[in-house]
Amino acid sequence: MLFNSLDFICWFLPASLILFFISAKISFNFAKLTLIASSLFFYSWWNPAYLYLIILSILTNFILANYISKSKNRLFLYVSIFINLGILGYYKYYNFFIDTINETSAFNIDTLKIILPLGISFFTFQQIAYHVDLYRNKSKKSSIIDFSLFVSFFPQLIAGPIVHNSEILPQLCNKTTFTFNSSKFISGLCLFSIGLFKKVIIADSIAIYSNCFFDSVINTNKIMFAESWFGTTAFALQIYFDFSGYSDMAIGLGLMFGILLPINFNSPYKAITIIEFWKRWHITLSRFLRDYIYIPLGGNRHGSLKKYLNLFITMILGGVWHGASWTFVLWGGIHGLYLIISHYVRSQTKRFNVKKSDYHNIILGRMSVYLMVTIAWVFFRAENFDIAQKIVQGMLGFNGIDLPRFLSLPSDVLLLNIVSENMIRFNGAFTMGIFNYQNIPILFISLIITYLFPNSNLWIEYKGEKKAISNLYHSAQFKSLNKRKCFWGGILFFISIKSLFDDTSSEFLYYNF
């Protein structure tokens, strides 16, 4: 069941909310059990056969958590990591591993028909992190009910945010969490509406262009300059609106049930360095990679060279987490290199005292981040290296640059035209027939929303950082949204819901990871 489906919005969500608040009136634990049941039902809707997997995963991890908590024996932690990564490895990486062996050797091992269980990367990581924290004494052992709810809570189950036990488990122990709070509910509803709007109106509209582009590349020999930038920009915007829309919906749903989830996006394309980009994009994954991979590898504790190496390894693993393919490995590697360069440049700019806040630095920074990230997205989206290579060649102008006819000037006016015979042509920007000038406005509007509009967390005044979560939660400082914002939230809700009637729901991109 997708958050952006009529089944979910019209039936599952209202029914689970009503059941939850009725059971909360009866008893605190009964409310949790109801929420677990709703979450498992939600999961089984996709493929009932895999319900056993998540239940088995929860039970096994709960038993292991008991042993780790009691004995503090490192062996149990290793067993936990081995089992969790073993299951993830089997479902997500087995065929990739076999394919790689077959391609690089004379072997011909059969691959298996495996369907990747939904959300496996997310709930596996959450449970490993819980065990590590128990071992490090950073977390307390919870009851089976709390643990089950922490893992299976449906708003974050399929595609995050990757919640940390210290953010959720304390909330599950506080009885006021499940008392109906109208401020939280209405904020959640508005945030859900914004997320829905981002997904069904913006991301799905742009998806038409990006899918059309990446599908056409397979049958095209030379990708031209404008088309390649147009197609990859479409994907850069699609993945941002798709995933940030999903995260908004997840956080909004959490709020409706009274549970505060951490924010996952903070206008990443507004970052002026790649370091900042990763502090704004998929924040909870970056946090996980930092706390459970980068820091255990040594972090920045053993000099610059080791730090850069650790960064690179972390980003490669981040790439592999996204999918079992060499293109994801390369995507992670590219971002690793970007981060190394970015850290090096930062150390140099500190030395020369360059001010980050200068207006032109901000513009230059944002442009460079956009260019670097968009080029890297090619490897993330392309099915294989050949396709990625074709697109990057087009983006770098290897196949010439076609410009609109109206830019053409008499040949003796511009020096540019000396080059133009081979390199720059004035045949019209879109010569491949994939796009046309009418497609430009939607991308332009999406770019304006990305760069000039406040992000949804700011709009609903939600600060989902760890400390802010506990403050908001414990002191009930959750601000009520003003009437104007609620009104706009309602309008966005209608616009998005209406769109679901005329279109079939499309999957979120991160459902595949």
């Binding site: 109208s182 401020s183 509910f185 209405i186 509803l189 508005c190 049958n219 009520s480 949204l481 003003n482 009437k483 104007r484 609620c486 009104f487 706009w488 939230g489 309602g490 309008i491 966005l492 809700f493 209608f494 616009i495 819901i497 209406k498 769109s499 009637f501 005329d502 279109d503």
Partner: protein
Amino acid sequence: MNTKFQTFLYFIAGSALGFLIWSYTLFSTEKNPCSEAVFNQHIIESKISILKQAKKNKIVVLSGSNALFGFNARTIEKELKIQTINCGIHAGFNLDFLLWLTNNYFTEGDIVIMPLEYNIYKQNGSKPSRSMVNIVHGYYPKYKEKLSFIERMKFNLTYSYKDFADLLYIKYNPAFDQKFIKKWFINNHGDIVNNRKSQQSDQHKLMLSKVNLNKVLTNGLDKSCQGFTRLKKFFHQANSKGVKVVGAYPNLCYWVDYENYPSFHETPKKIKSFFEEHAFGFVGKFKDSHFTNDYFFDTENHLNHEGVKIRTDNLILNLKALLKFDVKI
């Protein structure tokens, strides 16, 4: 009133206002068609005008576009000496709407052959297709009067933003001429004639070269599907008017992959037994409706000129047998 409750009311008010604006703008643009509706109305108009002028004791092939691109009514008429009309319209319209458009023109002694597309049997009235919503909004708003309030609301919400923008563009752009919207040439028997293989584009060839399995044939049908219920009602009406209804299989772009699905053979059997049980009969074998992709024109439902010839000759033989003509093989 509690302030927090008021904010919730504002949210509801926002949604309600959105709904009202949408409903009003849609209501005020009724009978203004978008380009897709203009295209489909051209087909409907041609068929209805032929039906209006037709005499008694005629043969009507009624279905979606698989019949439009599946049979040649002129050849059937020539062979059987019975006036024949190709009333293939569009599979995106649901059965109820197809019958609402045509049922009044069927009179005693008529034979209605229905090679309905498999998805027509499954069609869910509560979620009308985009083509159906566009045509009803642009030309037949009266059809909505027979729908319940909820169905009407769903109908209005199904009108897409894209088509709405297109509609406004057509309505308020004085330079736009509807005549420029692509139209097919349809002869006075309702047949389409510009489906020659030579007119097939590279894009169509590429599209038809990919395996595309019909979901109804792979997933199966049960007799509770809305199409069956609506058909039973039609059979009853037809019977009382003295109209004979005959079932047939639609064209199928055959891929060997179909054989992996048990419902591929079960579904056609269900359809055949349904017609044999409730209607006048059923013509044709399932295998005879199979064609390789070479015989298709632009989509996997539309046969090219050669495909139409084979299918029409086959139907003529089957009809002769059914109507107890002197069959010479």
